[in-house]
């Protein structure tokens, strides 16, 4: 299994604060890797570095064979990203926004693809409404749709199910699992452990910028350990 994401000695400092501290992880093709951690542990900073949105203070990142530091735009061209904050442009309608993303990503059959997403996430009636007037949940649906419009091989997802109702959560979880079955890869950040336990194949636990654990969900299950207990124990011990 070839590695899709490789990070070596990744560190990010914001002044005195070390947000990410010397982390090295490799993630193979077809994995659903969940990065878990308490609020402010460095998860979002990590995703932003891996997708070239911010530069690391130290370390190297290779995503889909691309040196992210040298070519951040190319990385974002190939990968799909659902950001932590749902921030589509305020004055485009939902439909226009997906078309705008389609034009940026040079997707030919954008109309059909957008229609499919409006249908899948059940928000067709919202397509002509300005993004700023959409509810947070609908904006989140829009963010999910834009990330997968170009059918990427790799997706970075930051807290994808926040603000969504249980029905849509189920739809997205099913979609992600199907997506993985097709050989694609997902790097997933969350602090909702039930979701991670349900869908992730591999997990990493991060706190105060340090990687405390990396392993498969199956290992925990084999030891009859609940992810929640394991997580709380680990974070408290290290804290």
């Amino acid at each position: 299994m070839k590695n899709v994401i490789e990070m070596n000695n990744l560190t990010k400092k914001f002044g005195e604060l070390i947000a990410v501290n010397n982390i090295s992880i490799s993630i193979g093709e077809g994995e659903l890797f969940g990065l878990l951690g308490p609020n402010g542990s460095g998860k979002t900073t990590m995703i932003k570095m891996l997708t070239g949105q911010i530069k690391p203070t130290e370390g190297a990142i290779n995503v889909l064979g691309i040196d992210v530091l040298k070519n951040p735009v190319r990385t974002r061209e190939l990968a799909g990203i659902i950001p932590e904050q749902e921030s589509p442009p305020s004055f485009l309608t939902a439909e226009e926004y997906l078309e705008f993303v389609g034009k940026i990503r040079k997707i030919d059959d954008i109309k059909d693809k957008s229609d499919a997403w409006f249908h899948l996430l059940d928000f067709e009636d919202q397509r002509k409404i300005l993004c700023r007037n959409l509810s947070r949940g609908t904006r989140q649906k829009l963010m999910v749709a834009q990330a997968f419009l170009h059918e990427p091989k790799l997706a970075f997802i930051d807290e994808p199910l926040i603000n969504l109702d249980p029905i849509v959560q189920r739809t997205i979880k099913d979609f992600i699992q199907d997506y993985i079955k097709k050989g694609n890869t997902v790097f997933f950040c969350t602090h909702i452990l039930e979701i991670a336990e349900e869908i992730c194949t591999q997990i990493g636990i991060i706190d105060k910028g340090r990687l405390l654990h990396k392993g498969s969900i199956q290992e925990l299950k084999d030891k009859s350990q609940h992810l929640e207990d394991f997580f709380i124990k680990l974070v408290k011990e290290e804290g």
């Binding site: 974002r76 990203i81 004055f91 309608t93 078309e99 940026i104 409404i129």
Partner: protein, 469 residues
């Protein structure tokens, strides 16, 4: 409670800026303005050879009125301010909606806070710089201090005038148009039967020479009445959430396909037309100051044969039109692009294209003015000056402030660098336009460094981390 909200908003505004470039750089900004004004004031004895002190004072009152006009369109931005002024940041104006305080009270506090900041950052330092210079330029310090009071009144009159007009516009653009038409007709009729001087039109200015209780009351009424009415009738309610819009992005993109940034530019136009105020922003922050300036220049400089008004107007137009870039960046933060395959350079390129297209309006205004004043002979040098100033100041804005001009301008270091690059050029253009306007036919030569600087700006901002607030 309202005072507490105001105090917290004051702190918040400070921290927004201090968080980005430090307490010192923000606090140093007004000091820099004072130093700049002090230096400019030292040239007053030389300016006296061109215009009288009385004319200078009139010019200063007009400029303060214009500053007020330029920032007073609060009536259009209520929701923008209340909601998400800086991308995703939730300001007190937004979050305090959960408190038992009406939105009108919150927004009133927001306006008061803004006015206090404008006075602290711009008006007071300008005045201080001037007053400190008076001993060196043979101007009575007491008179200068009194002038400061009347200058502040001019600023507040301009601000309150546009606040009321923009509030009216937010309710009905038709009523506003009818009112402005009536006012124009009324003024023309009055001018036919009475002699109306510019002094009469600006009571704060006339008060400097003949201070009477009546004039003080009129000035205060001109400030308080429109402001109070605007606050009463301010539109803070939220638009119909279910309003549906037809897809305009494709149609606009198709029309703009000559540009490689067609869809970004189409988005910019949709931002401008759909954001609160829409066209009103261009009217009040761009067209209104231009028209007012033209009227002023026409009345003021007509009496000074040495000064060519179409040239001065072209230079002013170049500077005012560079403000369009600020409008374009205000509703489109880079946060919306960070997770897409879009570089800062691409967004900058698209903003430059949108800027050029919107500036066709300025060009039309210049052509109409040249024809209307029968000054076509100076049209070509005026055009060269306008294009050069406009693009040169745009290049400097982008180089120093990137996609955040309205925020980074208040960094004292950035502001001083920007002013050092732009002010001498403006000064030079003004002097040359007086000496021989045709020399300015050579002004487009400045476009060479401007283009070079723009190219470097792309490189500079590409390596920069996006701001978050």
């Amino acid at each position: 409670m309202p005072i507490k909200i105001l105090k917290t908003m004051m702190k918040e505004e400070w921290r927004i800026h201090a968080n980005i470039f430090g307490n010192f750089m923000f606090a140093f900004f007004p000091l820099l303005i004072s130093i700049g004004t002090f230096v400019v004031a030292l040239f007053v004895p030389y300016l006296k050879t061109l215009i009288t002190i009385k004319q200078m004072l009139l010019l200063a009152h007009y400029l303060f009125l214009l500053i007020g006009v330029g920032i007073g369109a609060f009536g259009l931005f209520a929701r923008e301010f209340m909601n998400r002024r800086f991308g995703q940041a939730s300001l007190i104006a937004y979050s305090s909606r959960t408190l038992p305080v009406s939105e009108r009270v919150i927004f009133s506090n927001f306006i008061i806070k803004d006015v206090i900041y404008y006075i602290f950052l711009w008006i007071a330092p300008i005045i201080l710089g001037f007053v400190l210079a008076t001993p060196f330029i043979s101007i009575n310090t007491l008179s200068a201090i009194f002038a400061c009071g009347t200058l502040i009144l001019s600023f507040l009159i301009g601000l309150s005038l546009v606040f009321s007009l923009s509030t009216l516009y937010a309710h009905s653009s038709k009523i506003l148009a009818a009112l402005l038409l009536l006012a124009a007709i009324g003024t023309l009729i009055l001018m036919r039967y009475y002699t109306i001087s510019i002094t009469t039109l600006l009571p704060s200015y006339s008060m400097f020479y003949q201070p009477t209780l009546r004039k003080i009351i009129i000035s205060l009424l001109l400030i308080l009445l429109p402001s109070a009415l605007s606050l009463i009738f301010l539109k803070v309610d939220y638009p119909e959430k279910k309003k549906q819009y037809e897809n305009s992005l494709n149609t606009l993109t198709e029309k703009l396909k000559f540009s490689k940034y067609s869809y970004y530019v189409a988005k910019d136009f949709l931002d401008l037309s759909r954001s609160d105020g829409g066209l009103g922003k261009i009217i009040f922050s761009f067209l209104f100051p231009i028209v007012l300036t033209w009227v002023f220049l026409y009345i003021f400089f007509e009496k000074i044969p040495t000064i060519n008004i179409i040239m001065i107007f072209a230079i002013f137009l170049g500077i005012v039109s560079s403000q369009i870039y600020n409008m374009l960046t205000e509703f489109d933060t880079f946060n919306s692009y960070t997770f897409l395959p879009v570089s800062v350079s691409t967004v900058l390129g698209s903003k430059i294209t949108s800027y050029m297209l919107i500036n066709i309006i300025s060009l039309i205004i210049l052509i109409i003015t040249a024809i209307g004043t029968n000054q076509l002979v100076y049209f070509v040098p005026a055009l060269c000056s306008f294009i050069t100033i406009s693009l040169y100041s745009l290049a400097m804005t982008i180089y120093f402030m990137g996609l955040h001009p309205t925020i980074l301008l208040y960094n004292a270091k950035i502001f001083s660098q920007y002013m050092l690059m732009v002010a001498p050029i403006l000064f030079g253009f003004t002097i040359i336009s007086i000496l021989d306007p045709f020399i300015l036919l050579a002004s487009p030569i400045l476009l060479i460094p401007a283009i070079f600087i723009l190219k470097n700006s792309h490189k500079k901002w590409e390596d920069w981390q996006p701001l978050s607030f």
